[in-house]
C-alpha cells in the first residue's frame, strides 16, 4: 500500500481527568512531527501529540499500523526517523525510570523462580546489578503496590501458577511501582474474560486519577475503555488522527483515513465500526493480512 503524507494532525489539548487545583498539569509526553519509516513504508508521519499528567490516551488502528512501534519509540528502544519525542521535557532515552511498560501479554511459565511479590519488586530495582538484599523499605513499597493492584492475597504464590488476569494485574503493578509518571500498555485486555477486562481497565484508569500519571494504551477495541479515554490516537494507512473520541471515531474521519466508506455507529453506549477494508478489522488479531500502513 503506498504511503501518503497525512494532513497536519492537530495538536491535542485535552482536559485532564483530575488536575490538581491551581497549576496546570505537567506535560508528560510531547511528540513533535514524529515520523517512523521502514524503508519505503511509512508507519506514521508528522505525529504531534501532547499528553498531560492525568490523561488517558488510547492508541487505535489496524494491525501493522505501527501502534507497538509508537510505544517503543516513546520507550526509546525504537528511534524515530524524524521529529522529536520528549518525556517530562527531556529527549527520550532508553531505560527511563519514570516510564512503566506492560508489553503484550505473555504468560510466565512454571520454571520462573519468583513469587508474585518478587515479580512486582523487579519493577523497583530489577535493573540493578548484584544480588537483591532484603530491605524493609522495599518490602513496604512492594506490599503497598500489591494492595493497589488487589494482589495481597497472591503475594507468596508462584507467578507461573496465576491466571492471566492475575498476572496482568501484577504486570501493571510492576510497571507502576517506583512512581512512574507514564504508563504504556500494549493490548492489556487481550485474552481476558469480561470480568477481568473490567478489573484491569479500572486499575489502569485509577492509576492516573490522582493527576500524577498519564496512560498510553494500545487497544484493538475501544469499548471496554470508552468511558475512560480522554484522547484517541488513530493510526491507519500512514496517517494519524488525534483528538477526543467523539471527534476521531466518526464516519468522516475513519472514511478519510481508510480511503473508503466506513460507518461508525454508536449504539447502546458502544462504538461499532462497519465497513473496514479487508484485513483492517479491529479486534481480529489473528487476521492473516493485517492492513499495512
Amino acid at each position: 500500500m503506498p504511503s501518503r503524507r497525512p494532513s497536519v494532525a492537530e495538536l491535542t489539548e485535552v482536559r485532564p481527568a483530575a488536575a490538581p487545583a491551581g497549576a496546570p498539569p505537567t506535560t508528560v509526553l510531547a511528540m513533535h512531527g514524529a515520523t517512523l519509516t521502514f524503508g519505503e513504508r511509512t508507519l506514521w508521519a508528522d505525529l504531534d501529540l501532547r499528553v498531560r499528567a492525568g490523561e488517558f490516551v488510547a492508541i487505535l488502528g489496524p494491525n501493522g499500523s505501527g501502534k507497538t512501534s509508537l510505544l517503543r519509540a516513546v520507550l526509546g528502544t525504537q528511534p524515530v526517523t524524524a521529529g522529536s519525542i520528549e518525556i517530562l521535557g527531556q529527549p527520550v532515552r532508553r531505560g527511563h525510570r519514570l516510564i512503566g511498560y506492560v508489553p503484550q501479554q505473555h504468560l510466565a511459565d512454571r520454571g520462573t523462580p519468583l513469587r508474585a511479590r518478587d515479580f512486582v519488586g523487579l519493577g523497583l530495582n530489577g535493573h540493578r546489578f548484584g544480588v537483591p538484599l532484603p530491605s524493609r523499605a522495599r518490602r513496604r513499597t512492594v506490599d503497598a503496590m500489591l494492595a493497589t493492584v488487589d494482589a495481597t492475597h497472591l503475594a507468596t504464590m508462584r507467578i507461573g501458577d496465576l491466571s492471566g488476569g492475575e498476572q496482568q494485574r501484577l504486570r501493571i503493578g510492576q510497571a507502576l511501582i517506583g512512581d512512574s509518571r507514564l504508563l504504556l500498555c500494549d493490548e492489556p485486555l487481550i485474552s481476558l474474560d469480561l470480568y477481568q477486562q473490567r478489573a484491569v481497565s479500572t486499575l489502569i484508569d485509577a492509576s492516573r486519577r490522582d493527576g500524577e500519571r498519564a496512560v498510553l494504551m494500545i487497544t484493538h477495541d475501544v469499548n471496554p475503555v470508552l468511558d475512560m479515554v480522554d484522547t484517541v490516537v488513530y493510526l491507519a494507512g500512514g496517517q494519524v488522527r488525534t483528538g477526543p473520541v467523539e471527534e476521531v471515531l466518526t464516519t468522516e474521519v475513519l472514511s478519510d483515513l481508510y480511503q473508503t466508506r466506513v460507518d461508525v455507529i454508536r449504539t447502546r453506549g458502544r462504538i461499532v465500526v462497519v465497513g473496514l477494508p479487508d484485513g483492517a478489522h479491529e479486534g481480529h488479531e489473528s487476521h492473516p493480512r493485517g492492513a499495512r500502513g
Binding site: R115, D118, F129, T148, D150, A199
Partner: protein
C-alpha cells in the same frame, strides 16, 4: 541382585584410606555442585536445558580435539563450550532460532568428537572418560583450574543476578527499564559455557544435565522463592556430586551413574513433596475470585 554385581557397585573396605586419596575429587565435586546448582536456576528460567546439552557436546568435541592435538583436555573443552555458548547466544535470541541452531550444532559436535577420539592412539580410559566422566583423576593443577573457573562463574552470576532474572522473565520490560539485555545475555552464555566445560571434566558430556538442570528443576518443584530455589538447587547438586563420589569409591564402575541416579532420586522426591503440597494448598485456597479493583 547377585552379590557380585552388588560388590561391583558398592564396596566400603578400607573406606577411610580411600577417602584421603579422593580428597581432591570431593572438593571438585562440591565446588562443581555449587556452580551447577546456581547456574541451573537460570537455565530453567530461560528454558535452555536443550542448549546446555548442545554446549556439552561441543565441549566434548573440543576436549577430544585437545586430546588428539596434545593441547590439553581442559583447554579444548573450554574452547568448545565457549564457542558453542556464544554461537547459541548470538544467533538464537528467539527460542525458535535457538532450537534449530542447537539441533545443527549437536550432531556436528558429537561426530567431530568421535572422529578425534578415533584418531587418538593414547589411553582408552581417557576417551571413555570424556563422555561419562573421570572424577577420580583430579590432580592438583586440574583442581586449581576448576576452582578458578567455578569462582569466575559464581561471582559473575552474583553480579548480574537481578538484571539476568529480569531479562529471563520479560526481556522487553527489562530492556525498557534500562537493563542492557544483549550484554547480560552474552555474559550469561559465557558463564554457562565455563560451567559446562568444568562439568564435562567431572561427569562427562553426556550427563552434564544432571548437574546443570536436574537440581534446579527439583528445587523449583518445592519452592518459588528467589532465595530458596538457588540455595536448594546448589544443595541438591552438591549432594548428588559429593554423594555420588563417596558411593562410587570402592566400586569399579564409573562415577557418573551414581551422580545421575542421586540427582534423579532427589528430583523424584521433590516432585512427590511438591505435588502433595500443591494438593493441600488447592484444598485450602478459597475459590479464585478476582476481586473488584479499588
Amino acid at each position: 541382585m547377585s552379590p557380585d554385581i552388588w560388590g561391583e557397585l558398592f564396596r566400603f573396605d578400607n573406606y577411610a584410606e580411600l577417602l584421603v586419596l579422593v580428597r581432591n575429587s570431593i572438593i571438585a565435586g562440591a565446588v562443581l555442585g555449587l556452580t551447577g546448582g546456581l547456574i541451573g536456576v537460570f537455565v530453567m528460567a530461560r528454558d535452555m536445558a536443550f542448549a546446555v546439552h548442545a554446549i556439552s557436546e561441543l565441549s566434548f568435541a573440543g576436549a577430544a580435539a585437545g586430546l588428539l592435538l596434545g593441547v590439553g583436555v581442559v583447554e579444548g573443552s573450554l574452547a568448545g563450550s565457549l564457542s558453542a555458548a556464544l554461537l547459541i547466544g548470538l544467533l538464537g535470541s528467539r527460542a525458535r532460532d535457538r532450537n534449530s541452531i542447537i539441533a545443527v550444532l549437536m550432531p556436528f559436535g558429537l561426530g567431530f568428537g568421535i572422529l578425534c577420539l578415533a584418531l587418538y592412539s593414547g589411553r582408552a580410559a581417557n576417551k571413555f572418560g570424556l563422555l561419562t566422566g573421570q572424577i577420580v583423576a583430579v590432580d592438583n593443577p586440574r583442581l586449581t583450574a576448576l576452582l578458578v573457573i567455578c569462582s569466575i562463574v559464581v561471582v559473575g552470576l552474583l553480579l548480574i543476578w537481578r538484571p539476568l532474572m529480569f531479562t529471563s522473565i520479560d526481556a522487553q520490560v527489562a530492556e525498557a527499564r534500562g537493563v542492557p539485555r544483549v550484554a547480560v545475555s552474552i555474559a550469561f552464555m559465557v558463564l554457562l559455557g565455563l560451567a559446562v566445560a568444568v562439568s564435562v571434566q567431572i561427569v562427562g558430556s553426556l550427563l552434564v544435565l544432571s548437574i546443570l538442570v536436574t537440581p534446579a528443576a527439583a528445587a523449583l518443584r518445592v519452592s518459588a522463592s528467589p532465595l530458596l530455589v538457588p540455595l536448594l538447587s546448589a544443595l541438591f547438586a552438591i549432594a548428588a556430586t559429593v554423594g555420588g563420589i563417596m558411593l562410587a569409591l570402592g566400586g569399579s564402575v564409573p562415577i557418573s551413574p551414581y551422580v545421575t541416579t542421586l540427582s534423579f532420586l532427589i528430583y523424584l522426591g521433590c516432585r512427590l513433596v511438591g505435588g502433595a503440597r500443591n494438593r493441600g494448598r488447592r484444598r485450602h485456597r478459597a475459590p479464585t475470585t478476582d476481586l473488584a479493583v479499588r
